[in-house]
């Protein structure tokens, strides 16, 4: 018979929400929007040219306020991050992406 699952105590660890995969720096409550580190999406899917018109794709690498997400959060490789940066900046120029999104 399996042991009954222990419920977390009320007022326990603040970050003790849903279980997340992957390691992280030990200690400290992890933020809710923590992203699992993974391999570069563009390498995986063999996207050679990152098109600035593909807002659906590029939008995944932009934070809520419109900032470009760092590699350490998205796992993008160096060369693709460079291309991505260019693409995002072009998309901003032609009003496909915001420079700074309103809250």
């Amino acid at each position: 018979m399996p042991a009954p699952r222990q419920h977390s105590r009320p007022g326990g660890r603040p970050g003790g929400g849903p279980r997340r995969e992957g390691g992280g720096p030990p200690g400290g409550p992890r933020k809710q929007y923590f992203r699992r580190r993974r391999v570069c999406k563009f390498c995986e899917e063999h996207i050679d040219v990152i098109d600035y018109k593909d807002v659906k794709l590029i939008g995944q690498f932009v934070a809520e306020r419109g900032k470009i997400l760092p590699r350490r959060l998205t796992g993008t490789c160096s060369s693709h991050q460079h291309e991505l940066t260019t693409a995002i900046k072009r998309a901003r120029n032609i009003a496909l992406l915001p420079f700074a999104a309103e809250v």
Partner: protein, 141 residues
């Protein structure tokens, strides 16, 4: 000859008819300045990510053509003096396309070389060591 991609936004309050006229006019500019148009695409009405002038929306039109710097210069000048055009962006794309073709050819060649070694290769080339089992944090004490 180089390949260029020019995208421009037309004011949302122009009529469909006028838009077509404008696009045809710009196509004429490209052809007149020694360009060879490959594709014209009306990407349709879209919400702008930020306010441009007083506009919150716009028609996106995309030109793909082969030409020289002078072609782009002339087209940009014409777009700039046209009131209905709110914003435009020109990008040279031939080098990117060349690079993409090269990468693709490389990949095809690699696949053909060893079609069966893929499973073992992907395991070995993943770079990172096998993930350490994450220590479960014992909170309940």
């Amino acid at each position: 000859m180089r390949k260029y991609e020019v995208i421009f936004i037309v004011r949302p309050d122009v009529e469909e008819e006028d838009l077509n006229k404008l696009v045809a006019q710009m196509e004429g500019v490209v052809a007149g300045a020694g360009g060879k148009l490959e594709k014209t695409e009306k990407m349709g009405r879209r919400r702008l990510a930020y306010r441009v002038g007083r506009h919150q929306e716009g028609f996106y039109v995309l030109f793909l053509f082969e030409g020289t710097g002078d072609t782009v210069k002339e087209l940009e000048r014409r777009l700039g003096v046209t009131d209905a055009v709110v914003k435009f962006l020109s990008v040279r794309i031939d080098e990117e396309l060349k690079r993409a073709d090269k990468l693709k050819a490389l990949r095809v060649a690699r696949e053909a070389k060893r079609p069966k070694a893929k499973a073992s290769a992907s395991g070995a080339s993943s770079g990172t060591p096998p993930a350490q089992p994450v220590e479960e944090q014992q909170v309940q004490g």
